[in-house]
Protein backbone atom coordinates (compact mmCIF):
# COMPACT_ATOMS: atom_id res chain seq x y z
CA UNK A 1 0.00 0.00 0.00
CA UNK A 2 2.80 2.37 0.87
CA UNK A 3 4.46 1.75 -2.48
CA UNK A 4 1.19 2.54 -4.24
CA UNK A 5 0.92 5.74 -2.21
CA UNK A 6 4.50 6.71 -3.02
CA UNK A 7 4.08 6.07 -6.71
CA UNK A 8 0.94 8.17 -6.78
CA UNK A 9 2.38 11.17 -4.97
CA UNK A 10 5.41 11.01 -7.26
CA UNK A 11 3.14 11.36 -10.28
CA UNK A 12 1.15 14.10 -8.54
CA UNK A 13 4.31 16.03 -7.68
CA UNK A 14 5.55 15.69 -11.23
CA UNK A 15 2.34 17.10 -12.64
CA UNK A 16 1.81 19.84 -10.09
CA UNK A 17 4.63 21.82 -8.46
CA UNK A 18 2.15 22.88 -5.76
CA UNK A 19 2.10 19.38 -4.31
CA UNK A 20 4.30 19.35 -1.21
CA UNK A 21 5.16 16.40 1.02
CA UNK A 22 6.04 16.96 4.67
CA UNK A 23 7.30 14.11 6.80
CA UNK A 24 7.91 14.12 10.53
CA UNK A 25 11.21 12.30 10.16
CA UNK A 26 9.80 8.98 9.00
CA UNK A 27 10.18 7.29 5.67
CA UNK A 28 13.78 6.08 5.72
CA UNK A 29 14.42 4.26 2.47
CA UNK A 30 11.08 5.52 1.15
CA UNK A 31 11.28 9.19 0.25
CA UNK A 32 14.90 9.59 -0.87
CA UNK A 33 14.07 9.53 -4.56
CA UNK A 34 11.13 11.87 -4.09
CA UNK A 35 13.36 14.31 -2.22
CA UNK A 36 15.94 14.20 -4.98
CA UNK A 37 13.43 14.70 -7.75
CA UNK A 38 11.39 17.44 -6.06
CA UNK A 39 13.67 19.41 -3.74
CA UNK A 40 11.25 22.30 -3.21
CA UNK A 41 8.34 19.94 -2.69
CA UNK A 42 9.71 17.84 0.13
CA UNK A 43 10.52 18.86 3.69
CA UNK A 44 11.50 16.63 6.57
CA UNK A 45 10.28 18.83 9.42
CA UNK A 46 11.87 16.73 12.14
CA UNK A 47 10.06 14.84 14.89
CA UNK A 48 7.51 17.61 15.29
CA UNK A 49 3.99 16.68 14.25
CA UNK A 50 2.28 19.72 15.73
CA UNK A 51 4.51 22.04 13.76
CA UNK A 52 4.16 19.84 10.68
CA UNK A 53 0.38 20.24 10.73
CA UNK A 54 0.41 23.98 11.42
CA UNK A 55 3.06 24.45 8.77
CA UNK A 56 1.01 22.42 6.32
CA UNK A 57 -1.97 24.66 7.02
CA UNK A 58 0.04 27.82 6.40
CA UNK A 59 1.33 26.43 3.11
CA UNK A 60 -2.08 25.17 2.07
CA UNK A 61 -3.69 28.54 2.74
CA UNK A 62 -1.16 29.96 0.29
CA UNK A 63 -2.38 27.61 -2.43
CA UNK A 64 -0.20 24.56 -1.92
CA UNK A 65 -1.47 20.98 -1.83
CA UNK A 66 -0.06 19.34 1.24
CA UNK A 67 0.61 15.80 2.30
CA UNK A 68 1.70 15.25 5.90
CA UNK A 69 3.25 11.88 6.61
CA UNK A 70 4.22 9.87 9.63
CA UNK A 71 3.38 6.51 11.14
CA UNK A 72 0.78 5.15 13.54
CA UNK A 73 -0.83 7.82 15.70
CA UNK A 74 1.85 10.45 15.26
CA UNK A 75 0.39 12.47 12.36
CA UNK A 76 -3.11 12.29 13.84
CA UNK A 77 -3.54 12.06 17.59
CA UNK A 78 -0.29 13.81 18.49
CA UNK A 79 -1.43 16.92 16.65
CA UNK A 80 -5.19 16.49 16.79
CA UNK A 81 -5.87 20.09 17.78
CA UNK A 82 -3.79 21.40 14.88
CA UNK A 83 -5.85 19.17 12.60
CA UNK A 84 -9.07 20.48 14.11
CA UNK A 85 -8.41 24.21 14.60
CA UNK A 86 -5.87 24.86 11.88
CA UNK A 87 -6.44 22.40 9.05
CA UNK A 88 -10.16 21.59 9.26
CA UNK A 89 -11.54 24.92 10.45
CA UNK A 90 -9.62 26.71 7.72
CA UNK A 91 -10.61 24.11 5.09
CA UNK A 92 -7.00 23.62 4.09
CA UNK A 93 -5.96 21.27 1.32
CA UNK A 94 -4.07 18.73 3.39
CA UNK A 95 -3.94 14.97 3.09
CA UNK A 96 -2.81 13.48 6.37
CA UNK A 97 -1.20 10.12 5.84
CA UNK A 98 -0.54 7.56 8.55
CA UNK A 99 1.46 4.57 7.55
CA UNK A 100 0.73 1.58 9.75
CA UNK A 101 -2.99 1.38 10.47
CA UNK A 102 -4.33 -0.95 13.15
CA UNK A 103 -1.82 -3.63 14.11
CA UNK A 104 0.54 -3.01 11.17
CA UNK A 105 3.25 -2.40 13.76
CA UNK A 106 1.83 -5.10 16.01
CA UNK A 107 5.06 -6.13 17.71
CA UNK A 108 6.12 -2.56 18.51
CA UNK A 109 3.51 -2.19 21.23
CA UNK A 110 0.46 -0.09 21.97
CA UNK A 111 2.10 3.27 21.21
CA UNK A 112 2.30 2.08 17.60
CA UNK A 113 -1.16 0.51 17.37
CA UNK A 114 -3.43 2.89 15.48
CA UNK A 115 -6.75 1.65 16.75
CA UNK A 116 -8.80 4.76 17.51
CA UNK A 117 -7.76 7.03 14.64
CA UNK A 118 -10.78 6.44 12.39
CA UNK A 119 -13.25 7.18 15.13
CA UNK A 120 -11.50 10.28 16.43
CA UNK A 121 -10.79 11.80 13.04
CA UNK A 122 -14.19 11.15 11.55
CA UNK A 123 -15.75 13.22 14.31
CA UNK A 124 -14.02 16.32 12.95
CA UNK A 125 -16.26 18.36 10.65
CA UNK A 126 -14.85 18.85 7.18
CA UNK A 127 -12.61 15.82 6.90
CA UNK A 128 -12.68 12.80 4.60
CA UNK A 129 -11.48 9.61 6.28
CA UNK A 130 -10.18 6.74 4.18
CA UNK A 131 -8.75 3.33 5.03
CA UNK A 132 -8.16 1.53 1.74
CA UNK A 133 -8.50 -2.22 1.56
CA UNK A 134 -6.08 -2.83 -1.29
CA UNK A 135 -2.94 -1.28 -2.71
CA UNK A 136 -4.87 -0.20 -5.78
CA UNK A 137 -7.47 1.49 -3.59
CA UNK A 138 -4.65 3.24 -1.72
CA UNK A 139 -3.30 4.66 -4.97
CA UNK A 140 -6.76 5.83 -6.07
CA UNK A 141 -7.51 7.29 -2.65
CA UNK A 142 -4.21 9.18 -2.59
CA UNK A 143 -4.91 10.70 -5.98
CA UNK A 144 -8.44 11.75 -5.14
CA UNK A 145 -7.67 13.04 -1.65
CA UNK A 146 -4.86 15.30 -2.86
CA UNK A 147 -7.15 16.66 -5.60
CA UNK A 148 -10.10 17.08 -3.24
CA UNK A 149 -9.09 20.53 -1.92
CA UNK A 150 -9.98 19.80 1.69
CA UNK A 151 -8.62 17.89 4.66
CA UNK A 152 -8.36 14.15 4.18
CA UNK A 153 -7.02 11.34 6.27
CA UNK A 154 -5.47 8.32 4.61
CA UNK A 155 -4.69 5.28 6.72
CA UNK A 156 -2.23 2.96 5.07
CA UNK A 157 -2.01 -0.66 6.26
CA UNK A 158 0.98 -2.91 6.00
CA UNK A 159 -1.07 -5.75 4.53
CA UNK A 160 -3.93 -5.57 2.10
CA UNK A 161 -6.31 -7.63 0.05
CA UNK A 162 -5.21 -8.70 -3.37
CA UNK A 163 -6.75 -6.58 -6.07
CA UNK A 164 -5.05 -6.08 -9.36
CA UNK A 165 -5.99 -2.71 -10.81
CA UNK A 166 -9.41 -2.69 -9.26
CA UNK A 167 -10.44 -5.89 -10.97
CA UNK A 168 -12.60 -6.94 -8.03
CA UNK A 169 -15.00 -4.15 -7.26
CA UNK A 170 -15.11 -1.66 -10.07
CA UNK A 171 -14.18 1.99 -10.03
CA UNK A 172 -12.89 3.84 -6.99
CA UNK A 173 -14.64 6.94 -5.82
CA UNK A 174 -14.29 8.53 -2.41
CA UNK A 175 -17.48 7.92 -0.48
CA UNK A 176 -18.59 5.01 -2.69
CA UNK A 177 -17.94 1.55 -1.26
CA UNK A 178 -16.79 -1.21 -3.58
CA UNK A 179 -18.55 -4.54 -3.71
CA UNK A 180 -15.69 -7.01 -3.86
CA UNK A 181 -17.71 -10.23 -3.75
CA UNK A 182 -21.41 -10.63 -4.46
CA UNK A 183 -23.55 -12.61 -2.04
CA UNK A 184 -26.94 -12.74 -0.35
CA UNK A 185 -26.90 -14.54 3.00
CA UNK A 186 -24.76 -11.99 4.78
CA UNK A 187 -22.68 -8.89 4.03
CA UNK A 188 -19.26 -8.32 5.47
CA UNK A 189 -18.58 -4.60 5.48
CA UNK A 190 -15.01 -3.77 6.28
CA UNK A 191 -12.54 -0.95 6.12
CA UNK A 192 -8.77 -1.14 5.72
CA UNK A 193 -6.37 -3.89 4.75
CA UNK A 194 -8.25 -6.37 6.88
CA UNK A 195 -10.39 -6.74 3.76
CA UNK A 196 -8.07 -9.68 3.01
CA UNK A 197 -9.50 -11.55 6.01
CA UNK A 198 -13.04 -10.74 4.94
CA UNK A 199 -12.41 -12.11 1.46
CA UNK A 200 -10.93 -15.25 2.95
CA UNK A 201 -13.91 -15.62 5.29
CA UNK A 202 -16.31 -15.30 2.36
CA UNK A 203 -14.45 -18.04 0.51
CA UNK A 204 -14.61 -20.30 3.55
CA UNK A 205 -18.31 -19.52 3.93
CA UNK A 206 -18.92 -20.43 0.32
CA UNK A 207 -17.50 -23.89 0.99
CA UNK A 208 -20.12 -24.21 3.71
CA UNK A 209 -22.82 -23.13 1.33
CA UNK A 210 -23.18 -19.61 2.79
CA UNK A 211 -23.23 -16.84 0.24
CA UNK A 212 -21.38 -13.79 1.54
CA UNK A 213 -21.22 -10.33 0.06
CA UNK A 214 -17.99 -8.49 0.82
CA UNK A 215 -17.90 -4.71 0.72
CA UNK A 216 -14.74 -2.63 0.96
CA UNK A 217 -16.07 0.45 2.69
CA UNK A 218 -12.80 2.29 2.23
CA UNK A 219 -14.18 5.75 2.92
CA UNK A 220 -15.21 5.74 6.55
CA UNK A 221 -16.48 9.29 6.11
CA UNK A 222 -18.55 10.16 4.20
CA UNK A 223 -20.33 6.83 4.44
CA UNK A 224 -21.85 5.10 1.45
CA UNK A 225 -25.43 5.16 2.67
CA UNK A 226 -26.86 3.38 -0.40
CA UNK A 227 -24.47 0.45 -0.17
CA UNK A 228 -25.01 0.02 3.56
CA UNK A 229 -28.79 0.15 3.24
CA UNK A 230 -28.69 -2.25 0.32
CA UNK A 231 -26.78 -4.74 2.49
CA UNK A 232 -29.28 -4.28 5.31
CA UNK A 233 -32.31 -4.69 3.06
CA UNK A 234 -31.19 -7.22 0.50
CA UNK A 235 -28.88 -9.59 2.35
CA UNK A 236 -29.40 -11.68 5.48
CA UNK A 237 -27.46 -9.41 7.79
CA UNK A 238 -24.30 -7.41 8.34
CA UNK A 239 -20.99 -8.19 9.98
CA UNK A 240 -18.56 -5.27 10.18
CA UNK A 241 -14.81 -5.78 10.39
CA UNK A 242 -12.12 -3.29 11.29
CA UNK A 243 -8.69 -3.32 12.85
CA UNK A 244 -9.83 -0.63 15.21
CA UNK A 245 -11.83 -0.12 18.36
CA UNK A 246 -15.45 -1.13 17.75
CA UNK A 247 -16.43 2.24 19.20
CA UNK A 248 -16.75 4.86 16.52
CA UNK A 249 -15.28 3.00 13.56
CA UNK A 250 -16.91 1.36 10.56
CA UNK A 251 -19.21 -0.74 12.75
CA UNK A 252 -20.57 2.41 14.32
CA UNK A 253 -20.89 4.05 10.91
CA UNK A 254 -23.01 1.16 9.62
CA UNK A 255 -25.17 1.14 12.75
CA UNK A 256 -25.72 4.89 12.51
CA UNK A 257 -26.68 4.72 8.85
CA UNK A 258 -29.12 1.82 9.39
CA UNK A 259 -30.88 3.37 12.39
CA UNK A 260 -30.94 6.87 10.89
CA UNK A 261 -32.81 5.37 7.95
CA UNK A 262 -35.06 3.11 9.97
CA UNK A 263 -33.70 -0.08 8.43
CA UNK A 264 -32.72 -2.96 10.68
CA UNK A 265 -30.42 -5.58 9.20
CA UNK A 266 -31.44 -9.22 9.70
CA UNK A 267 -28.49 -9.56 12.00
CA UNK A 268 -25.69 -7.26 13.05
CA UNK A 269 -22.29 -7.91 14.56
CA UNK A 270 -19.28 -5.60 14.93
CA UNK A 271 -15.86 -7.21 14.90
CA UNK A 272 -12.87 -5.23 16.08
CA UNK A 273 -11.11 -4.36 19.28
CA UNK A 274 -13.54 -4.50 22.20
CA UNK A 275 -12.68 -1.09 23.62
CA UNK A 276 -9.23 -2.06 24.81
CA UNK A 277 -5.55 -1.37 24.22
CA UNK A 278 -3.41 -4.30 23.28
CA UNK A 279 -0.61 -4.92 25.72
CA UNK A 280 -0.04 -8.21 23.98
CA UNK A 281 2.24 -7.84 20.98
CA UNK A 282 2.77 -9.93 17.89
CA UNK A 283 2.50 -9.90 14.15
CA UNK A 284 -0.50 -8.29 12.49
CA UNK A 285 -1.72 -11.80 11.63
CA UNK A 286 -1.35 -13.00 15.21
CA UNK A 287 -3.12 -10.00 16.72
CA UNK A 288 -6.01 -10.27 14.27
CA UNK A 289 -6.53 -13.84 15.40
CA UNK A 290 -5.98 -12.96 19.09
CA UNK A 291 -8.62 -10.26 18.98
CA UNK A 292 -11.12 -12.21 16.94
CA UNK A 293 -11.01 -10.38 13.64
CA UNK A 294 -9.27 -12.90 11.40
CA UNK A 295 -10.97 -14.94 8.67
CA UNK A 296 -12.03 -17.74 11.05
CA UNK A 297 -13.56 -15.29 13.53
CA UNK A 298 -15.36 -13.48 10.72
CA UNK A 299 -16.65 -16.84 9.45
CA UNK A 300 -17.99 -17.65 12.91
CA UNK A 301 -19.77 -14.31 13.07
CA UNK A 302 -21.22 -14.81 9.58
CA UNK A 303 -22.47 -18.33 10.32
CA UNK A 304 -23.86 -17.68 13.80
CA UNK A 305 -27.50 -16.78 13.82
Amino acid sequence: MRDAFLKTITTLAEQDPNVILLTADLGFGVFEEFEQKFPGQYFNVGVAEQNMTGLATGLALEGKKLITYSIGNFPTLRCLEQIRNDACYHEANITIVASGGGFSYGALGMSHHATEDLSILRSLPGITVVAPGTAWEAAQATWQLVQENKVGYLRIDKTSADDKKGSLGGEFKLGRARRIIEGSDCTIICTGGILAEAVKAAELAKEKGVSCRVVSHHTVKPADVDEILDAAKNTGGIVTVEEHNVIGGIGSVVAEVCLDNGILPGKFKRLGLEDTYSSVVGSQKFLRSYYGMDAESILDAVCSS
Binding site: G46, Q50, A56, G58, L59, E62, N85
Partner: protein, 272 residues
Amino acid sequence: MVEDLANYALAIRRHALKMTSLGGSSHIGSIFSIADILAVLYGKVLKVRPDDPKWPMRDRFILSKGHAGAGVYAALAERGFFPTERLKTHYQDNSVLSGHVSHKGIPGVEFSTGSLGHGLSVACGMALAGRLEKRSNRVFVVMSDGECDEGSNWEAVMFAAHHKLDNLVAIIDYNKLQSIRSTTETLNLEPFADKWRSFGWSVEEVDGHDYQSLTMVLENNNSSDTKPRCVIAHTTKGKGVSFMENNVLWHYRSPQGEEYQTALSELGVVKK
Protein backbone atom coordinates in the same frame (compact mmCIF):
# COMPACT_ATOMS: atom_id res chain seq x y z
CA MET B 1 3.21 60.15 12.65
CA VAL B 2 3.46 59.36 16.35
CA GLU B 3 0.33 61.35 16.96
CA ASP B 4 -1.59 59.43 14.32
CA LEU B 5 -0.47 56.12 15.75
CA ALA B 6 -1.35 57.22 19.27
CA ASN B 7 -4.75 58.24 18.03
CA TYR B 8 -5.21 54.91 16.24
CA ALA B 9 -4.15 52.98 19.36
CA LEU B 10 -6.57 55.04 21.42
CA ALA B 11 -9.38 54.22 19.02
CA ILE B 12 -8.52 50.51 19.29
CA ARG B 13 -8.53 50.70 23.08
CA ARG B 14 -11.82 52.58 23.22
CA HIS B 15 -13.50 50.15 20.84
CA ALA B 16 -12.15 47.16 22.74
CA LEU B 17 -13.27 48.58 26.05
CA LYS B 18 -16.78 49.11 24.70
CA MET B 19 -16.84 45.68 23.08
CA THR B 20 -15.76 43.83 26.20
CA SER B 21 -18.17 45.85 28.30
CA LEU B 22 -21.10 45.33 25.97
CA GLY B 23 -20.32 41.66 25.52
CA GLY B 24 -19.44 41.04 29.15
CA SER B 25 -16.27 39.46 27.91
CA SER B 26 -12.74 39.02 29.25
CA HIS B 27 -9.18 39.83 28.20
CA ILE B 28 -9.26 43.62 28.10
CA GLY B 29 -5.86 43.64 29.86
CA SER B 30 -4.37 41.44 27.12
CA ILE B 31 -5.85 43.66 24.42
CA PHE B 32 -4.53 46.88 25.95
CA SER B 33 -1.14 45.19 26.19
CA ILE B 34 -0.89 44.91 22.38
CA ALA B 35 -2.99 47.90 21.30
CA ASP B 36 0.09 49.96 20.44
CA ILE B 37 1.68 47.07 18.56
CA LEU B 38 -1.52 46.63 16.55
CA ALA B 39 -1.63 50.36 15.81
CA VAL B 40 1.95 50.35 14.52
CA LEU B 41 1.37 47.20 12.47
CA TYR B 42 -1.91 48.21 10.85
CA GLY B 43 -1.17 51.92 10.85
CA LYS B 44 2.35 51.85 9.49
CA VAL B 45 4.02 48.52 8.85
CA LEU B 46 1.70 45.98 7.25
CA LYS B 47 1.24 46.20 3.52
CA VAL B 48 -2.47 45.48 3.31
CA ARG B 49 -5.40 46.74 1.28
CA PRO B 50 -8.66 47.18 3.16
CA ASP B 51 -10.57 47.21 -0.16
CA ASP B 52 -8.82 44.02 -1.29
CA PRO B 53 -8.23 41.92 1.83
CA LYS B 54 -7.03 38.88 -0.17
CA TRP B 55 -4.49 40.85 -2.25
CA PRO B 56 -1.85 38.14 -2.85
CA MET B 57 1.14 40.38 -2.15
CA ARG B 58 -0.17 41.54 1.23
CA ASP B 59 1.81 41.03 4.39
CA ARG B 60 0.29 38.26 6.48
CA PHE B 61 -0.61 38.90 10.09
CA ILE B 62 -1.59 36.24 12.60
CA LEU B 63 -2.69 36.98 16.13
CA SER B 64 -1.59 33.82 17.87
CA LYS B 65 -2.83 35.05 21.24
CA GLY B 66 -6.38 34.80 19.94
CA HIS B 67 -7.94 35.98 23.19
CA ALA B 68 -7.01 39.54 22.24
CA GLY B 69 -9.17 39.21 19.12
CA ALA B 70 -11.32 42.23 19.95
CA GLY B 71 -8.20 44.35 19.49
CA VAL B 72 -7.68 43.01 15.97
CA TYR B 73 -11.35 43.47 15.06
CA ALA B 74 -11.11 47.06 16.27
CA ALA B 75 -7.86 47.69 14.40
CA LEU B 76 -9.33 46.26 11.19
CA ALA B 77 -12.57 48.22 11.45
CA GLU B 78 -10.70 51.46 12.11
CA ARG B 79 -8.48 50.72 9.11
CA GLY B 80 -11.56 50.35 6.93
CA PHE B 81 -11.80 46.60 6.44
CA PHE B 82 -15.40 46.67 7.67
CA PRO B 83 -17.71 49.22 9.31
CA THR B 84 -16.94 50.01 12.95
CA GLU B 85 -20.68 49.58 13.51
CA ARG B 86 -20.15 45.81 13.28
CA LEU B 87 -17.95 45.87 16.37
CA LYS B 88 -21.08 46.17 18.50
CA THR B 89 -21.97 42.59 17.67
CA HIS B 90 -18.79 41.22 19.28
CA TYR B 91 -19.58 38.40 21.71
CA GLN B 92 -23.31 38.73 21.03
CA ASP B 93 -25.73 35.97 20.05
CA ASN B 94 -25.48 35.03 16.39
CA SER B 95 -22.35 37.11 15.80
CA VAL B 96 -19.25 35.93 13.96
CA LEU B 97 -17.06 38.31 15.95
CA SER B 98 -16.12 35.69 18.51
CA GLY B 99 -14.17 36.28 21.70
CA HIS B 100 -11.16 34.57 20.16
CA VAL B 101 -10.17 35.86 16.77
CA SER B 102 -11.92 34.18 13.83
CA HIS B 103 -11.49 34.66 10.10
CA LYS B 104 -14.88 33.46 8.92
CA GLY B 105 -16.90 36.30 7.54
CA ILE B 106 -14.49 38.94 8.83
CA PRO B 107 -12.45 40.67 6.11
CA GLY B 108 -8.82 41.11 7.03
CA VAL B 109 -8.45 38.34 9.57
CA GLU B 110 -5.88 35.97 8.14
CA PHE B 111 -6.21 33.12 10.58
CA SER B 112 -8.38 31.98 13.47
CA THR B 113 -6.76 31.20 16.79
CA GLY B 114 -7.76 30.81 20.40
CA SER B 115 -5.79 27.79 21.48
CA LEU B 116 -2.27 28.95 22.22
CA GLY B 117 0.77 27.68 20.38
CA HIS B 118 -0.75 27.42 16.90
CA GLY B 119 0.04 30.71 15.18
CA LEU B 120 3.79 30.45 14.76
CA SER B 121 3.69 27.14 12.89
CA VAL B 122 1.07 28.46 10.50
CA ALA B 123 3.10 31.64 10.05
CA CYS B 124 6.12 29.46 9.21
CA GLY B 125 4.03 27.77 6.52
CA MET B 126 3.00 31.12 5.07
CA ALA B 127 6.57 32.39 5.18
CA LEU B 128 7.86 29.24 3.49
CA ALA B 129 5.19 29.55 0.81
CA GLY B 130 6.17 33.19 0.28
CA ARG B 131 9.73 32.14 -0.26
CA LEU B 132 8.84 29.28 -2.59
CA GLU B 133 6.77 31.74 -4.62
CA LYS B 134 9.58 34.32 -4.47
CA ARG B 135 7.25 36.92 -3.00
CA SER B 136 8.63 39.89 -1.13
CA ASN B 137 5.88 40.08 1.47
CA ARG B 138 6.44 39.36 5.14
CA VAL B 139 4.62 37.33 7.76
CA PHE B 140 4.03 38.77 11.23
CA VAL B 141 2.75 36.90 14.22
CA VAL B 142 1.93 38.30 17.64
CA MET B 143 2.32 35.86 20.50
CA SER B 144 1.88 36.19 24.22
CA ASP B 145 4.58 35.46 26.74
CA GLY B 146 2.58 32.79 28.54
CA GLU B 147 1.93 31.22 25.16
CA CYS B 148 5.63 30.43 24.94
CA ASP B 149 5.03 27.72 27.54
CA GLU B 150 3.49 25.69 24.73
CA GLY B 151 6.03 23.26 23.32
CA SER B 152 4.61 23.46 19.81
CA ASN B 153 6.10 26.96 19.50
CA TRP B 154 9.59 25.65 19.99
CA GLU B 155 9.09 23.12 17.21
CA ALA B 156 8.25 26.07 14.97
CA VAL B 157 11.11 28.17 16.33
CA MET B 158 13.55 25.44 15.34
CA PHE B 159 11.96 25.02 11.93
CA ALA B 160 12.06 28.74 11.10
CA ALA B 161 15.74 29.03 11.98
CA HIS B 162 16.70 25.84 10.19
CA HIS B 163 14.98 27.00 7.02
CA LYS B 164 16.19 30.59 7.37
CA LEU B 165 12.76 32.14 7.18
CA ASP B 166 13.96 35.74 7.22
CA ASN B 167 10.57 36.94 6.00
CA LEU B 168 9.05 35.94 9.33
CA VAL B 169 8.69 38.25 12.34
CA ALA B 170 7.47 36.96 15.70
CA ILE B 171 6.45 39.70 18.11
CA ILE B 172 6.18 38.65 21.73
CA ASP B 173 3.86 40.61 23.95
CA TYR B 174 6.06 40.34 27.03
CA ASN B 175 3.88 41.84 29.74
CA LYS B 176 5.19 39.28 32.21
CA LEU B 177 1.75 38.40 33.55
CA GLN B 178 0.03 35.23 32.55
CA SER B 179 -3.33 33.96 33.53
CA ILE B 180 -2.81 33.47 37.26
CA ARG B 181 0.59 34.85 38.24
CA SER B 182 3.69 36.36 36.72
CA THR B 183 5.65 34.48 34.08
CA THR B 184 8.55 34.27 36.53
CA GLU B 185 6.41 32.57 39.15
CA THR B 186 4.57 30.35 36.68
CA LEU B 187 7.18 28.98 34.32
CA ASN B 188 10.18 31.23 34.07
CA LEU B 189 10.91 32.28 30.48
CA GLU B 190 14.24 33.92 31.26
CA PRO B 191 16.76 34.21 29.80
CA PHE B 192 14.09 34.78 27.16
CA ALA B 193 15.99 36.69 24.47
CA ASP B 194 18.90 34.30 24.80
CA LYS B 195 16.57 31.35 24.28
CA TRP B 196 15.47 32.72 20.92
CA ARG B 197 19.01 33.68 20.00
CA SER B 198 20.34 30.25 20.85
CA PHE B 199 17.63 28.78 18.62
CA GLY B 200 19.04 30.78 15.72
CA TRP B 201 16.80 33.83 15.66
CA SER B 202 17.74 37.46 15.42
CA VAL B 203 16.32 39.12 18.53
CA GLU B 204 15.48 42.73 19.27
CA GLU B 205 13.97 44.07 22.46
CA VAL B 206 11.73 47.08 22.33
CA ASP B 207 9.32 49.11 24.44
CA GLY B 208 6.00 47.75 23.22
CA HIS B 209 4.26 51.06 23.82
CA ASP B 210 6.78 53.31 22.10
CA TYR B 211 5.49 54.04 18.61
CA GLN B 212 8.79 55.26 17.26
CA SER B 213 10.85 52.30 18.45
CA LEU B 214 8.18 49.82 17.38
CA THR B 215 7.96 51.39 13.94
CA MET B 216 11.70 51.41 13.50
CA VAL B 217 12.11 47.78 14.50
CA LEU B 218 9.10 46.46 12.62
CA GLU B 219 9.57 48.48 9.44
CA ASN B 220 13.20 47.41 9.14
CA ASN B 221 13.27 44.80 6.42
CA ASN B 222 16.97 44.96 5.61
CA SER B 223 18.08 41.81 7.28
CA SER B 224 21.82 41.43 7.08
CA ASP B 225 21.53 37.79 8.00
CA THR B 226 19.11 35.05 6.99
CA LYS B 227 17.58 34.61 10.40
CA PRO B 228 13.92 34.83 11.33
CA ARG B 229 13.28 37.79 13.61
CA CYS B 230 11.94 37.85 17.12
CA VAL B 231 10.82 41.16 18.55
CA ILE B 232 10.41 40.98 22.30
CA ALA B 233 8.07 43.84 23.09
CA HIS B 234 8.15 44.80 26.73
CA THR B 235 4.60 45.72 27.53
CA THR B 236 2.25 46.45 30.39
CA LYS B 237 -0.85 44.35 30.70
CA GLY B 238 -3.86 46.66 30.88
CA LYS B 239 -1.82 49.58 29.50
CA GLY B 240 -3.74 52.86 29.36
CA VAL B 241 -6.06 52.48 32.34
CA SER B 242 -4.40 52.97 35.73
CA PHE B 243 -6.34 50.38 37.71
CA MET B 244 -5.99 47.76 35.01
CA GLU B 245 -2.26 48.04 34.56
CA ASN B 246 -0.27 45.06 35.80
CA ASN B 247 -3.37 43.58 37.39
CA VAL B 248 -4.16 40.01 36.42
CA LEU B 249 -7.80 40.55 37.41
CA TRP B 250 -8.27 42.29 34.07
CA HIS B 251 -7.35 39.16 32.20
CA TYR B 252 -10.86 38.07 33.16
CA ARG B 253 -12.98 40.93 34.38
CA SER B 254 -15.38 42.67 32.06
CA PRO B 255 -15.43 46.45 32.50
CA GLN B 256 -18.85 47.47 33.75
CA GLY B 257 -20.58 50.43 35.41
CA GLU B 258 -18.34 52.89 37.17
CA GLU B 259 -15.19 50.99 36.26
CA TYR B 260 -16.14 51.19 32.61
CA GLN B 261 -16.83 54.93 32.82
CA THR B 262 -13.58 55.63 34.64
CA ALA B 263 -11.62 53.55 32.16
CA LEU B 264 -13.21 55.36 29.24
CA SER B 265 -12.40 58.78 30.64
CA GLU B 266 -8.84 57.75 31.53
CA LEU B 267 -8.28 56.67 27.94
CA GLY B 268 -9.37 60.04 26.65
CA VAL B 269 -10.99 61.08 23.44
CA VAL B 270 -9.95 60.22 19.90
CA LYS B 271 -8.96 63.29 17.92
CA LYS B 272 -10.81 63.56 14.65
